[in-house]
Amino acid sequence: MTGRTAYVVGAAHTPFGEAWDKSYRHLMTDAGLAAIQDAGVQGEDIDEVFVGTMSTGKLVGQEHVASLLLDGAGLADQHLPATRIEAAGASGGLAFRQGVQAIRSGAADVVVVGGLEKMTDVSDADQAAVTASGIDQEWEHFFGATDAALHALIAKRHMARYGTTREQLAAVAVKNHAHGARNPLAQFRRPITEETVLRAPPVAEPLGMFDCAPTSDGAACVVLCSDAVVDSYGGKAVQVSGSGQASDTLSLSDRADLTSWRATEHAARRAYQEAGVSVADVDVAEVHDAYTITELLAVEDLGFVKKGEGGPATVEGRTGDGGDVVVNPSGGLKARGHPVGATGIAQVCELTWHLRGTASDRQVKDARIGVAHNTGGTGATAVVHVLEGVQ
């Protein structure tokens, strides 16, 4: 890559979970102000704002949220360009990429990127409808499919094709809950056992309740800046060295292979190429484990392990603490929580902290290169970023 480089200079997210006393505006303002403070930027410094959110329309009855949220942060009088980005579960990651591109293009020197979802103001049924709106409404959902059911079909195919076991799926949840236990911002901070996962109520076989990310409230925010101004934000910068995004058929039924997400493969290839890194260089990754099976797909499609080896690799600890690449040190979507639009930004926050060396007792040792991987639906959108610590 030639030309301008984007850096993350500020990162923050709210605690994820059930935020009964916070509205979506308050959540976003909390995360936004914390990130701006972390970066040390002033309102006057900001050139542009992006916010990733999947479904404020259905969850809080509000569209047109980018301007509204900027106003909430007290920045309406700056009259900044503010844009909302949506791609189901990948909304946050895509918003982040928009920020990176605004910097790289020269259109902006300082960009604030937020992500949020306020999911607990509505009934379980309405939450499920939102989750399902990331799959094909007319040709999947209407015929009885749910997001979990489609992921269950993927899991069964993966099991049939690669011999992946139920216990290997459970190992993903066990690992991520163990990680989440050390993350003060995580929704679930209690380790669980394999038995807990296996005995949980079924959702769509073979997936049970502990194979699925929870419903969460939360907001996350990062501040990006260009190389032109990065020196003003001394010492805390993390370089965005690669950014890749790709898409695939919305319907799972249109895929020739259910067990690989081509969008992830293409996004990763582009991001690694831009960054000039090889997959062996990656120390830490935040991947999209909306279901246990999706982490297995992610570590395979991102190239951390060979295709089909996601299950054994997880059981052997190759993706855990002290492994070849530490996957989801935050607890992932599974334990940190999954306020949909916030997830992609929270992933960048987590990597930023590890690459700065400030992730306290869950710090990945000597973390230098991190990968963020955020997907939507059954992998119809994937976005991958490579972040590098700046020494």
Partner: protein, 132 residues
Amino acid sequence: MTVPRFWREIPQRYNLQASKCGACDAIHYPPRTVCPECRRASIGNLEEVKLSGRGTVLESTRVHKAAPGYEAQVPYTLALIQTEEGPVITGQVVDHDGRAVSAGDDVRAVFRRLGEDGDAGVIYYGTKWVLA
């Protein structure tokens, strides 16, 4: 679902109406406006065809947390159906009480209720599948 949204796709839902590319003969369900293989060469060159309703189960799952309207049928079986003409269709396999549904099982299309807009609203009909 809403009435106009359902109504305009009745042929596809009741009778598995698909599209066939005049350039490469590939069949797609739901019907497409452009063939993803032939793209420009297929424009204006797609014809309507009806699928036979015969297929095999590619993969299936028992769903315990239902999609809206399917609550009373929990647990129900959702499958990817490989139709004999080529397209793969997502659908519910019904009436298989006591028999497990497995990849490779032959199925055929049946006509069932898919949902309704509450007690007073329109009833939506369409295709489900039974073991053949």
